[in-house]
């Protein structure tokens, strides 16, 4: 194990910042289609027209826009007043059609992806790569054995075109288009994202991965993902997000809907590292039926403001839900992250584990909801939230909302707040580690209960991101 890990570390190299902080200057001119800035019914119609969508989806988009315009900005969580909705490109499509293979990709996109290491990663791990470049999925590949098993792994636009009935049945049912202002926005202008269907009894052993990038100034990303896991099926979906650094504010507002049917299991892993000007406002919700398991593993490192609370509705008996959340806030960052579990059926269980770290004046918090509906007897839930504060200027908040309408339940909540001890640092430094390395090591250890749940490659990436965040933060 240790050997593989190190080999990967060596393979990734030490040029991480250069690798991920780039942008491609010639790209912006060459878009195939770019909407004007700002939001209107005309824009929504243009998107639907451009994608040649069915009438019901057009109507859904227009209704969603109405919901978006009607709803006020949320007054809780973080400060959203800096978002200039009129100054955002809501839709950009970079290439004319989807590429079938690596060779078909335009050269500048390939160049960007080479820097991200996609082909190597694919060789090593990927069962299929759907990657979002700008608002549209441009490259997509499904390995032959997945197709044989009947697994669908498409970008959402293709999913709608090729599996309209299935999409229509579930799209917008887990997260309705009036759920919240940003889900409404996504529903109006969504583009890209993944559509996955795993048939009954099929286990997808390798994680399905998608790489996401924002690479244009003032550009919104509104990807939409729908995952359907049929009875006794299993899938692990992984998304990693890295973004180049731009000076003006950017908005990312995704919607992820998941259905896990009887006995099925789904794990959804996210590591996001948006640049520090991005508003990351994401709605993620899953429903788990009888004996099903849903797991969200959610790592939030970048962005200016993240508001994200992956939710699980436990609809059938013995359903199990798990949310593992890491939030890391540095200077100028606010991570308002957490999880929600709603116990609707009896004998359901859930665990929410949150680890938040704040430094250099950053603010990281846990906001969570645990709800047990009347009749959900013997529901069992445990919420653990630990905060690590690295200096005096930084802040941690905990908002654990609990609503229980049933008497026969077993609910536990633990919260700790700690600081890195001088003695711990001295111990590590007395072995030759610099103060930054020592701090990074303590932080990596702090989040280890979550990183150990990540696929190896992502665990390594996560630790690297933490190291980068820690460099120059102390001393």
């Amino acid at each position: 194990m240790a050997q593989t890990e190190t080999e990967i570390v060596e393979g990734i190299g030490s040029d991480y910042a250069t690798k991920y902080g780039f942008s491609n200057p010639d790209e912006a001119k060459d878009y195939f289609f770019k909407s004007g800035r700002g939001l209107s019914h005309e824009l929504v119609e243009a998107i639907a027209e451009h994608k040649n969508e069915p009438a019901w989806m057009r109507k859904f988009r227009h209704d969603s826009l109405e919901n978006f315009l009607r709803r006020p900005l949320p007054m809780w969580g973080g400060d959203l007043t800096g978002i200039d909705f009129d100054n955002i490109y809501y839709y950009i499509k970079p290439t004319e059609k989807q590429a079938e293979s690596w060779e078909d990709l335009p050269a500048d996109i390939k160049d960007t992806w080479d820097k991200l290491g996609i082909p190597e990663a694919e060789k090593k791990y990927l069962a299929g790569v759907g990657a979002q470049y700008e608002s549209e999925v441009v490259y997509h590949k499904l390995q032959a054995d997945l197709e044989k098993k009947g697994v669908i792994f498409l970008d959402m636009d293709s999913g709608l075109r090729e599996h309209e009935d299935l999409v229509k049945q579930y799209f917008g049912t887990i997260i309705p288009n009036n759920d919240n202002k940003f889900a409404a926005l996504n529903s109006a202008v969504w583009s890209g994202g993944s559509f996955i269907y795993v048939p009954k009894g099929v286990r997808v052993e390798l994680p399905l991965q998608a790489y996401f990038r924002i690479n244009a100034e003032n550009m919104g990303q509104f990807e939409r993902t729908l995952i359907l896991v049929d009875e006794d099926a299993y899938v692990h979906y992984v998304e990693g997000c890295t973004a180049p650094i731009y000076s003006s504010d950017s908005l990312h507002s995704a919607v992820v809907e998941i259905v896990v049917k009887k006995g099925g299991r789904c794990r959804y892993t996210t590591i996001q590292n948006w640049s520090n000007n991005v508003y990351n406002l994401v709605t993620k919700r899953a429903v788990a039926y009888e004996d099903a398991t849903m797991e969200w593993v959610d790592g939030n490192l970048g962005s200016k403001l993240t508001m994200k609370y992956p939710a699980i509705w436990l609809m059938g008996e013995h359903a199990h839900g798990e949310v593992l959340s890491i939030a890391f806030a540095g200077a100028g960052q606010h991570q308002d992250a957490g999880g929600k579990c709603v116990h609707v059926a009896p004998n359901t269980t859930s665990v929410i584990t949150s680890k938040s770290i704040s430094k250099n004046g950053g603010r990281a918090g846990y906001r969570g909801l645990l709800e047990v509906a009347k009749g959900a007897k013997n529901a069992k839930s445990k919420v653990v939230c630990d905060a690590l504060i690295l200096d005096e200027d930084s802040r941690s908040d905990t908002y654990p909302y609990i609503r229980i309408d049933e008497n026969e339940v077993d609910i536990g909540h633990e919260a700790t707040v700690s600081k890195i001890g001088e003695e711990q640092l001295f111990y590590l430094m007395s072995r030759g580690l610099s103060e930054a390395e020592a701090s990074a090591m303590v932080v990596s250890g702090f989040v280890e209960p979550i990183t150990k749940e990540l696929p190896l490659e992502y665990a390594v990436e996560m630790n690297r991101l933490i190291q980068l965040q820690m460099e120059g933060s102390v001393g």
Binding site: F426, S430, R431, E435, G445
Partner: protein
């Protein structure tokens, strides 16, 4: 030239209280020195000051390693130059495995030596680690446990010596390494130290009791009372201390004895 040299070293706590009141000694490679003193004499303060703990202020004198003045150097820099402190109470680092920690520390030292990243090849690291673990009778299972997290007292001390064996320092300072060890563990730990002392390494063993010196025979013994070295001699001095205690030098203990 001495490997580690203390020249009239004075150390105070942050509140200004002077604990170490002018200590001079010189340890060469291939030598074991023992600093023996009663509780509260300032032994651990001396150890921390040598290792560069930021909570202890050197108010006078110098610390030299291989002739280089390291009095102002940070703890990390001292370690990179080959100084090692085996802690009396090693700290737990939850979530960080012994393996991961050791590899990171070794690579930090290698990087400072080479001036560029020079990570230890994985095969070499694993071979070394398992060989040293076996030699020090540390269960291999401990390699994947979190550093000192939930370790027994004996396991912690063995892992300190394991770290020393892996990092191969020039100069080892052992702070009360014998405390909390049963006799079998003590033999293993002492054996581990003894094997490393040689042309490449010298050691300073800080202890209250003579016990550990039965297994690591010192070349020199310094009796340390109330922040000062009050007597020096060969290994026979340790035996004498074992019989008569520190009463002769220690006013407080003297009173109790009387």
């Amino acid at each position: 030239m001495a490997l580690l040299e203390l020249r009239d070293l004075r150390v105070a706590l942050e509140d200004g209280t002077e604990i170490v009141k002018g200590v001079s000694l010189a340890v060469a490679t291939n030598e074991v020195h023992a600093v023996m003193g009663p509780n509260g004499s300032g032994k651990s303060t001396l150890a921390y000051a040598i290792a560069g703990h930021p909570g202890y202020e050197v108010t006078g004198g110098q610390i030299l390693l291989d002739g280089e003045d390291i009095t102002e150097a940070g703890a990390d820099e001292r370690a990179q130059k080959g100084l090692f402190l085996a802690f009396q109470y090693p700290h737990a680092i939850p979530g960080v495995t012994v393996t991961n920690f050791l590899r990171t520390a070794i690579n930090a030292v290698r990087k400072s030596k080479a001036g560029v990243d020079d990570p230890i090849p994985v095969k070499e690291f694993r071979a070394d680690l398992f060989a040293e673990m076996d030699r020090l009778k540390v269960s291999r299972e401990l390699a994947s446990r979190y550093l000192n997290d939930g370790f027994s007292g004996g396991e912690k001390k063995r892992v300190e010596i394991l770290q020393m064996a892996m990092l191969r320092p020039r100069m080892a300072v052992l702070d009360e390494t014998d405390s909390g060890l049963d006799i079998d563990a003590l033999k293993v730990v002492a054996g581990g130290v003894k094997e490393l002392v040689g042309p490449e390494m010298g050691a300073l063993v800080i202890t209250h009791y003579q016990r550990i010196l039965d297994y690591i025979e010192p070349d020199y013994v310094h009796v340390f009372v109330d922040g000062q070295i009050v007597e020096e001699g060969g290994p026979e001095l340790a035996l004498e201390l074992e019989k008569s205690g520190y009463a002769k030098w220690d006013k407080e203990e003297g009173k109790e004895a009387a």
